[in-house]
Amino acid sequence: MLAALRQRFNTWLFRPRVEHGAILLTQRRIFILPTRQGLALGFVLVLMLLGDINYNLSLGYVLTFLLAMVAVLSMLHAFRNLAHLEVRAGRAEPVFCGGTAHFILHFHNPGTLARHQLCLRHAGGTTTGFDVPAGEDREVALPLPATRRGWLQAGRLTLYTEFPLGLFHAWSYLHFDTRCLVYPRPLSDAPLPPGNSPDGAGKRTVAGDDDFSGLRNYVPGDALPRIAWKAYAREQGLQVKQFSTQLGEELWLDLADAPDADIENRLARMTRWVLDAEAQGLRYGLRLPDGELPANNGFAHRDACLGRIALFGVIETK
């Protein structure tokens, strides 16, 4: 009951909803509370006041009041440091899992006063500090660790400042609909699958299963269907048929070709394939159980493929 009320209060106060476009930090959005240092100063001031009263120090009163008022004014300064700042979420470049995603935020200071010592913090713990000079724009990259493939949401960010004296913590929540695509981390060592181009205009020949290329002696573990029974019948001993594949211009990267047991590993292998195929300048297509991308080449294609791999099986939640 109490928890529910608290939740509703927080919802009402902090508006934890996702926003897009530009946010103007109005007073409705800025919260302010004393920091631990602020409370400590309060304690020191009370001590000083007691001393003033006890020893009847008029100038002591003046000093105590001055410091107290400086503290109060530092609250206004902290508030002003955030007030009427404009924030827009920028693009976040896709990253590989295990890397660091950089969420770009654009800050615009329309006023005539510089904003000092602003800090942008993610719940995960990363904090970035920056200043925005008067009338200028600043682009701030908030680094976040990418730990899982798929969409990485920036989530609720806290923009705060304790300028100028660290006595008050003024903050505002920024919850943009910005997200960063995280590709699976590519396997380090995964040879490309053999070419399987239908037109057969290959350039290289690698072991495959399209054309018969000869026989070799049986090694335990060879697949039974590949044993050359006719040769056996001719009493040539157990031999195995060998096939070769001509690596075509169009390489199909098929999830089904990835030999790994675990789906994440298979996607990781496919990621490596895409990177290698692109690096080797091949034309490649992508085939996933939920559809395929026709063969193409270039960074846009590569990103499209990586995107498809990254989002394979990911249920979009927005």
């Binding site: 020893y55 009847n56 008029s58 100038l59 002003r80 006023g111 010592q117 200043d131 100028p164 004296l165």
Partner: protein, 651 residues
Amino acid sequence: MNRMSTYGLLLSILMVIAPHAEHLPPWVTALCASLLAWRGYLAWSGNPLPKRWLLLTITLACTGGIAIDFHTLFGREVGVTLLMLLATLKLMELRTARDAVALVYLACFIIITNFFYSQSIPTALYMLATLVVILTSWVHLHAPDIALGPRLRVASTLLLQAIPLTLILFVLFPRVQGPLWGLPQDAYASSGLSDTMSPGSLSKLSLSDAVAFRVTFDGPVPPREQMYWRGPVLWDFDGTTWTRGRNATLRAPTLADTGSPASYTVTLEPHNKHWLFALDMPDRLSIPSLLAPDFQSLSHKPVNARIRYRASSLLSYRANPDEPPQQIKRALALPRGLNPESRLLAKSWREQFPQDDAAIVRAALAHFNRGGYEYTLEPPLLGANSVDDFLFRTRQGFCEHYAGSFVFLMRAAGIPARVVTGYQGSEYNELGDYHILRQSDAHAWAEVWLGERGWVRHDPTAAIAPGRIQRGLSSAVADNAALPFMARNPPQWLLKLRMNWDTLANQWNQWVLGYDNERQFAFLTRLGMESVTWQKLAMNLAVGLGLAIALFALFMLRHLFTRRHDEVQAAWLKLCGRLAKAGLPRAPHEGPQDYAARIASARPDIAEDIADLAARYSGLRYGKSQDEQARHEFLQRATALKIRRGIIRAA
């Protein structure tokens, strides 16, 4: 911690402890100075800070040293000394940001301890300067990237904005009369007269410029030679020192008067003793006090804060003509066996005038006047028979020598007499219309009891150096240089400057330092607040501060809303002005599009430019788009258009 913020903290600590240098034990001052220098060197060279065990050893050693030096670890002086050491040692272990913040708070706290010793205007100004330094380094702790200039600006802005708010708080904050808890004995420094007098005690005091009290007269001001400000009355003599002793009766003294009383207001500086000062002879005081049997006004508790009281005095009087015999006996007591020559002299006078006490007094004063005595601030040392030594050998003395030996002679001649100490004369401040009494005006004189006439004041100093009484110390002492600056006769302009300064100091004392709950209530009543109560004060304080802070908030946030909206319009109007100069003024009713169309028909050569600008202008001013790029382009094009009389062409 970066180096610059260390320097800032160093400077802050240096500034807060510097005023204490003179009253700390010398070894503590030296230690603090060398620690600060060492810290400065470490910051400059980038060497690591000393190890913790070393600091701990130093701290323990210092605490031990202080305990030995002061014989205690409690009390105000010890507390202040320990704070100084703590602050400098804390500077030596500046490791985390939290250490730095703690040091900043400590620095603020130490400023307060300085007020134990001085609360003057220069001290207040120094406090402001110190606060600027502290705030600047404080800002630096939280914004290490900001340059010194902007940091200084932030700090001074904060301080300047805080001053009006502080004023409101100062006036309205309910004052509690201290102390809240028992004060240590050394809470208040003692200065001024003491209740003993030995050769040298007053001449030492006369080397001080410090103000003892200030007086404002209600009516006519008595002549200077009448201004004897009565302090401790000394009865008992042990051969070298005069002391107050205990009065043998508790009977209130009686005054039979023949003139009209003088009334005045005294603002007395704290001296941490009981007595109050009033003109001879005090009649009534406005604050609760006791008038002792020897006409000494005594406060009920030591005067440890500046106080004001009104008093009235009778300048011509018959004081205690019926003095009880116990007191008469006290006034005749002399230590046995000492000063035989003086006793012989007194005896000879008594033999000369067996019945006439007044004649003996005259004889004694004449002896001082003609005996080749010299009035000096630096009298030679006296032996065990101090009065004999002075009267017959050294013949050089200050007022305490004359008053003491005069009373001795009177008593030896069988006339009841006593020594009175206090202040004599005054210095008039024209600007503030008040009189100043300084420690250098400290004086001692004598009173003899002449039966029917009661106690009569006689000042033997006046017999040797009448100028001392008529014009002050500087005219009586041969060697001016030994005197404090204020007691000499400076040039006129300096005198004036000094008086202005003293007036300011007096106002400061009355309104800032003396602002207690009594004065607060009186002031607020004068401002129109009826029947001042705590609740009302608190209410007013809350409302006043709230309003002031709201005003500040509005003032400060106004910068946020001042956008450069008008740049566009200004550029357009400027363009119109330039077109008007070229012979194509815009009619008041004409909108941008119409104006452009008219210009197009009159001057086809620039039609395109003007039409473009007009379209851009109306888009920016009336359209929805607030595109920075478009604005910028418009501004650029509008100013780039070059205009000559008759010919307008695009740049």
